[in-house]
Amino acid sequence: MRIAVIDESASRAMVIREGLAQLDGIEIFLLSDRAGLLAQLAEIAPDVVLIDLGNPSRDVLEEYFAVTRALSRPIAMFVSQSDEESIGASIDAGVSVYVVDGLAASRIRPVLDLAVRRFNAFARLQSDLDEAKSKLAERDTIDKAKRILMQSRKLTEPEAYGELRRKAMQASRRIADIAEALVTAHELMEGD
């Protein structure tokens, strides 16, 4: 079975490929470029096409499928209504699936399930990364706030941290929020 994965995010496409590679008898083609997309697809003649929902080429792709309905191996949208639930899961995960007409549902199902798991895994990775980034930014802010306290009130670093922590507990807020407020106030006072 030939599977084309269309995704402008090359890293996500890699994650999907790695997941699908677990299946037997599968050939995977990654397409990340918008230019020449249809010509490449025509050459690959895939049985299954996976494309992310955020891809601006989706309407062009569906138009192509509609036109190729006249060809010998027409591609349809993956729409057997008995599989509503798994289509719903794929849309929730952010991927849309098209399959060649007549491909048995039993062969599509494992591909779809894996794709959905991989998309979800990628989304989790992304959100972990975002979280890590924002943690890093928070630590920066706390460091800045400590330096402000150390300079203006002649405190040691542990004392400055203790002050932030005490204020946060009093106000039932996070230390990062208190630090942020302090840094903003300081910038205003300094006319930064």
Binding site: R34, L53, G54, N55, P56, S57, R58, D59, V60, L61, E62, E63, F65, A66, A76, M77, V79, Q81, I87, G88, I91, D92, S96
Partner: protein
């Protein structure tokens, strides 16, 4: 208690009414909180609507009908209780093609004379081995149907004499620049973007092809409408108020700035203002020209979903998808537009409601008073450029008179 609705949309100027309903507090006045889901393809807007990510969506009217009829995928009934606007699209040619057909630079062209010059150029290009190519935003779009209607009425056979392909709106200017297409029919601000880059010239507007042509609708799943009927009627009232605000010249700049914001169109406020104010720059660097009712979002109960509009779209679907006319499908297509919901939402308000739910399209040559359920209804000129009229009581007869 506040009810929440999630609205899907594509970043185009005619997504304005729900956005402004939220931003100016008209939704809140009706007890609504609107959230927006922006996408970059109609396929995804539709998927999110069908699988429940959104409650309602800014959608191409023909796509709502095609989805209901099961064109390209199994049928899923959609309904449209509100038309988001009429027209608002431009036909834009590459500078070379605009010159070749003698399009004037200081005003919009004449649909008939540009069309006959284009017929000559199309034949010349086809015999030279490279047919003219036009980009439209979607197979099931009014852009596609308006363009084809115009071409066919000018003696050009779409698919034979010229090619028509789908190009996503944000890539239209690129496609003109790289000569992938020679012309396009697209919503704003994308023609203006092409003009600003010097890769396109606006030669016509769709309002010159059909003076009051139906454009996007607010679409939803039929079962979702039943479940959220109360909220949907509140949304209709809020969008009518947003429409009155939108067409008031005093608010143009403010509204252009809101729509240009990063959550909505994320585009140039200056270009958006051109569409909102019906003042288009046709050629880069030229002063804007004023073409009244380029966009038409409010007057004459513009948002009323006339069943005859849906039926006209169905005839064009039959025409260009090479289907046979089917009376059952025609009824289903007409049933996508839901004037009953629109009426129910606005009964006993100050707003105007027409007396009928269907009308002969393209027959009005001047201001005409028509029957109304409440308020005074005066409709203005509403012609097709070729003078043909559409009688919803005789769809097969109308189709028989059209070339394919």
């Amino acid at each position: 208690m506040t009810e929440r609705l999630v609205i899907g949309f594509l970043p185009l100027v005619d997504a304005c009414l729900p956005i402004l309903a939220q931003e100016h507090g008209f939704a809140a006045e009706e007890g609504l909180e609107l959230d927006f889901l922006r996408d970059v393809s109609w396929a995804t807007v539709l998927d999110r609507l069908l699988y429940g990510h959104s409650d309602a969506a800014h959608l191409l009217a023909p796509l709502a009908i095609a989805t209901t009829l099961g064109r390209g995928r199994p049928p899923q009934p959609l309904v449209a209780p509100f038309v988001l606007g009429l027209n608002g699209n431009a036909i834009t040619f590459s500078p070379e093609l605009a010159d070749a057909v003698g399009a004037p630079r200081e005003k919009l062209g004449d649909a008939k004379s540009i069309g006959s010059a284009l017929a000559v150029e199309a034949k010349r290009r086809a015999s030279a081995g490279r047919k003219l190519r036009f980009g439209v935003v979607h197979r099931y779009s009014s852009h596609n149907y308006m363009l084809r209607y115009w071409l066919a009425a000018c003696g050009i056979t779409p698919d034979d004499d010229v090619e028509i392909a789908t190009v996503a709106p944000p890539f239209v200017a690129d496609a003109l620049e790289s000569s992938e297409i020679d012309g396009t029919c697209v919503g704003e601000p994308w023609s203006s973007v092409a003009v600003e880059r010097g890769v396109g010239r606006i030669v016509l507007t769709t309002a010159q092809i059909w003076r009051r042509g139906v454009e996007k609708v607010l679409a939803m799943r039929e079962d979702r409408l039943e479940k959220r009927r109360h909220a949907v009627e509140a949304l209709i009232r809020a969008m009518r108020k947003a429409g009155a605000h939108f067409v008031d010249p005093a608010n143009w700049e403010k509204n252009a700035a809101i729509l240009a914001g990063p959550r909505y169109l994320d585009a140039s406020a200056e270009l958006i203002l051109r569409a909102i104010s019906d003042r288009l720059v046709l050629v880069r660097g030229a002063p804007p020209i004023h073409y009244p009712d380029f966009m038409f979002q409010h007057r004459e109960a513009a948002n009323f979903p006339w069943v005859s509009q849906a039926e006209w779209l169905y005839t064009q679907m039959v025409r260009w998808d090479r289907m046979h006319f089917d009376a059952h499908d025609a009824r289903k297509a007409g049933g996508v537009f839901r004037p009953d919901v629109y009426r129910s939402a606005l009964t006993d308000t100050d707003d105007v409601l027409p007396g009928a739910s269907s009308k002969v399209e393209g027959s009005l040559t001047g201001k005409t008073a028509v029957s109304s359920q409440q308020g005074t209804m005066v409709l203005e000129e509403n012609r097709f450029f070729d003078g043909r009229t559409f009688d919803p009581d005789n769809l097969p007869g109308y189709l028989a008179g059209l070339t394919r």
